[in-house]
């Protein structure tokens, strides 16, 4: 079943097309790695799929629904460039807040569970502003997975993670994929991404230069896609 469908999407900043006629699909249970140079439009595409901005032309469907529908948003988890947790609140307060916003039946328990999952249960009452970088990253991961989303949209999630956080995220992603969740992940860390991914899409100046299954060739030489389909 198609989880995420991007159909002829254009996104304009003023008159400038940041995304040009993007057509992509991601089936449930698959992981799509979005690669491309900086400025190619990976972040713009992810944000448009997540519903942060509307496409100028074309349509995006998540399980056949609009991304901005309230019910659809319940099933989307996002990790962007920022950790999206509040410095002045504790780890537990942050997760409880999001659990409530997502309408989880027992917010406090869900928050505790995910603090354990990400190894933060001992600092649950510590304020985020006192956390180390790695702890903040793990909290961000907990926040994204908290409401058991069916679609995970991750923007360069491995960038600036410490080893412990990388291990946590990889484990969670493998479990999610095994459970039939869908992951779309933009990345510069080709090796980590390709290990998890079933599909790859290369964006070049807002357009899809390549979209296909992840092959042995790519795993052996991650730069292969760039060399074959990229521009310089």
């Amino acid at each position: 079943m198609t989880a995420v469908s991007v159909d002829g999407v254009w996104k304009f900043y003023g008159d400038y097309p940041a995304l040009r006629d993007v057509r992509l699909d991601a089936d449930a249970g698959t992981c799509l790695a979005l690669i491309g140079r900086n400025g190619a439009g990976k972040t713009t595409l992810l944000r448009t799929i997540a519903g942060f901005s509307k496409p100028g032309k074309g349509a995006i469907r998540i399980f056949g629904q609009e991304p901005r529908e309230t019910e659809t948003r319940r099933h989307i988890g996002v990790i962007g460039h920022g950790i999206a947790v509040y410095d002045e609140l504790s780890a537990h307060e942050n997760l409880t807040l999001y659990a409530r916003l997502y309408g989880l039946p027992d917010p406090r328990r869900a928050a505790l569970e995910w603090l354990e999952q990400t190894g933060l249960e001992r600092v649950r009452d510590g304020l985020v502003r006192e956390f180390s970088r790695g702890m903040r990253q793990r909290l961000a991961v907990a926040r994204a997975f908290l409401h058991d989303p069916s679609v995970l949209l991750l923007d360069e999630p491995f960038t600036a993670l410490d080893d412990r956080a990388i291990a946590v995220l990889q484990r969670l992603l493998r479990e999610a994929l095994a459970n039939g969740k869908t992951v779309i992940m933009s990345t510069h860390q080709l090796r980590e991404a390709l290990e998890l991914s079933s599909h790859v899409a290369l964006l070049n100046r807002g357009a899809v230069a390549f979209h296909g299954a992840c092959t042995a060739e790519m795993l052996a030489d991650p730069g292969w896609v760039y060399a074959r389909y990229g521009e310089g």
């Binding site: 304009f12 003023g14 008159d15 400038y16 400025g39």
Partner: protein
């Protein structure tokens, strides 16, 4: 062809203005206030033109928010700027008027005060636009602001008017004393002339906006290469 229409309109407007000036100059001076009273022929239509401009800005702002077509946003900003210019004319002529009659540069007469507050309102619109870099966000936020501003105009005018009935200050136009019919006609004709000039100014500003958007586009293309 489009340019020719606007040149024609501008020329027509200037001719009408010239003719009106001639007629106005030949009117006898007004009984109570003397020759300076004739400033009303510009003072009042300038305000009316500003209202037309503000309404245009509102309509095109709403149209942009619903269609995302940047042409509407361009008309909104052009129209707001022209409206601000005419409102400024209203304020300056009002100030001159007050100076001649009462020797003071400003009075908190309810019409002048309302005009000043509305001027500040729409000046805020331009300031907001200047502060936002990204074109889509700029147009969207400015559009929302424009709606808020327009909603405020009648409330501002009504409440300041009510305030001044409780706390009176010098007033220019008393409701007593009739306005001769032929004067009314010239007043309206002058409004027509100002409207024509306003439309031409808007068209010129629209041209600038279009050029600016093209430059923006080329710049972003260049960055992407």
């Amino acid at each position: 062809m489009r340019d020719k229409i606007f040149y024609g309109l501008g020329a027509l407007g200037m001719l009408l203005l010239a003719r009106n000036l001639y007629v106005i100059a030949n009117f006898p001076p007004e009984a109570a206030q003397g020759a300076i009273f004739k400033i009303i022929f510009f003072h009042v239509p300038a305000a009316w033109t500003a209202i037309v401009a503000a309404t245009t800005a509102l309509v095109t702002s709403i149209l942009f928010l619903t269609t995302k077509n940047f042409k509407y946003d361009a008309v909104a900003v052009a129209s707001t700027e022209v409206g601000l210019a005419f409102l400024a004319i209203n304020l300056v002529t009002g100030s001159i008027w007050g100076r001649v009659i009462w020797g003071i540069w400003w009075t908190w007469d309810w019409r002048l005060t309302s005009a000043l507050v509305c001027w500040l309102l729409y000046a805020g619109y331009l300031m907001l636009r200047h502060a936002i870099e990204e074109p889509t966000q700029r147009a969207t936020f400015a559009g929302v602001f424009s709606i808020f501003a327009f909603l405020d105009v009648p409330i501002v005018v009504m409440s300041i008017r009510w305030f001044r009935t409780q706390h009176p200050s010098p007033v220019f136009l008393s409701s007593t004393g009739s306005f001769p019919h032929d004067w009314t006609m010239v007043l309206l004709w002058n409004w027509v002339a100002l409207l024509m000039i306003g439309v031409v100014m808007t068209a010129i500003r629209l041209g600038h906006e279009q050029t600016q958007r093209e430059i923006d586009y080329v710049r972003r293309m260049a960055h992407a290469l």
